[in-house]
Amino acid sequence: MTSVDLSASSVRELNARLHALPADTNETAWRIAEPRGAHAVAAGLTVPVSVEIDGHVGYYCGGMNQAASVTINGHCGTGVAENMMSGTIRVRGNASQCAGASGHGGLLVIEGDAGPRCGISMKGVDIVVGGSVGHMSAFMAQSGTLAVCGDAGEDLGDSIYEATLYVGGGVGRLGADCVEKEMTTRHREMLSALLERAGVEADLSTFRRFGSARRLYHFHVDNADAYR
């Protein structure tokens, strides 16, 4: 286990060390103390190491992650795991806005609640939220899956493309072009597998599925009202 205390070392020094690791490194377990809300902690990792952060982090923790497994034992600021490509990022507390923004792959687990725009512009990432998400979550979500065990705020899935959304609790007004879809056995199985992968327990029977009505895929005068 390699330990780094961010009250004694800078984020730059930490990230430089993590970026310098070869793919077959022996230093596969890292523990970060005293993050004190620092930004871009463990951003841009490319190798399958495990990084555990004890405390709260600022913006963009684990940004653009590839292969690594990052766990935040605390809350995190805006854009955790933004544009992540692969690997796993787990937030044990709550996440601020734009969690998993434009994520292309991998798994983001937020055990607490997530703020607005969770999964905005997501492109293949799987996101599991143990609690609730704020308004405009999955805005322009292109692909991947967002599973919310609690409630989803207003305008869920506005302008959604081909992402799949599951919500276990209540749902506010749906966003433009987002509609409820049938929850088939196959979907329940996929959701079950995703929750298991995320290590999150929930009552599957309450979940509903949402996706795109695909009415806004082409300009058409009759659809102009959708955005008013």
Binding site: A16, H19, A40, Y59, Y60, G63, M64, S102, Y161, F219
Partner: protein, 438 residues
Amino acid sequence: MSVDRRTLRPSATFPDHVLAEIHRAADRGVYEIRGFGTKRHLPGFDDLLFLGASMSRYPLEGYRERCDTDVVLGDRFASRPVELAIPITVAGMSFGALGANAKEAIGRACTAMGTSSTTGDGGMTEEERRSSKTLVYQVLPSRYGMNPDDLRRADAIEIVVGQGAKPGGGGMLLGQKITERVAGMRDLPVGIDQRSACRHPDWTGPDDLAIKIRELREITDWEKPVYIKIGASRPQYDVPLAVKAGADVVVLDGMQGGTAATQDVFIEHVGIPTLPAVRRAVEALQELDMHRKVQLVVSGGIRTGADVAKALALGADAVSIGSAAMVALGCNRPVHVEDYHAIGTEPGACHHCHTGRCPVGVTTQDADLEARLDPEQGARRLRNYLTVMVLELQTIARANGKSHVLNLEPEDLVALTVEAAAMAGVPLAGTDWIPGRE
């Protein structure tokens, strides 16, 4: 009854193109989306003149004395700034808007000339990375194809806040251009009308942007210059905010800048022309004592070496061309005229990039049309054109007694019109009068 044609007075309020647009709108019920850029007359670089040397300034010998053109971009924070042989770069144009052959031709020409090209919405293609020695990677609101590997193999990062043709608008690409490859790169269904977001998904405002820039620098180990591209609207505020957010370079795109597809009303009615935008941006940098420390790249309607010289004289460090590079590749060239007619236009008036049916193979994903643009021949044309621009630029710089093109200055310029004098902050020709100044 015969008509006396002298009595047929067309309305200045309703000229032909306005009548046609009202008829089109009445028929279709959707606004017009088109490519290219603004078509209205705007005060521009043509309204400025260089004074040249005389008794009070010595010219340099045209073929014997040096006039250097090199420029360094991004040495504020980046450990590997971009070094260019000429101050003319090629602006971001996406693979998707442009075909692969056009992207490759641009990359090859820029490499040969020692300058940079830029990716666009949709990410980086292998062809353009291979063909471009210096490649600027755009980070756009859509984040299509955004990839940390590409970020790391880019030579600079350009965060696109806006573009001159549509400050405040997001990207657009109509279904006919969303082929399987384009859709795959953008993670979109094939054939849909793509409308990108106009704001970034993970930051809003300059305070967040500063943190975003730090993240990008962290991911790339503080090697790459970070540019911020803004559409010209309020450069007096946007440029200082970009500097404060930590930009190494500000790219300022005036409203003459081109687009692959945007609402006509946006292209023609939003933003300010390049001419006043440059002056305000330079003043803002000077006020912060950051002129030349944060470099300014100006784009939007740059067509000739004279335009480049005027932009530099007003204080830019480099310029960027988009539409003009496309024209050099063959855009609006009078060949395959029947194909221009097939999409309802003529060479010289074409703005039909959005259709995907580009008659000269520049802005198309159609294999047959694209085959009309041979990457090698296209690269040769663009190289020739860039060479001419540089020769013109040096001609003007030497005539004004400058041994480096960056030594051109506002004192070398006068304006032909009161408007241009006010916008550029240079005297009306034959006077000492700069409108708006004491």
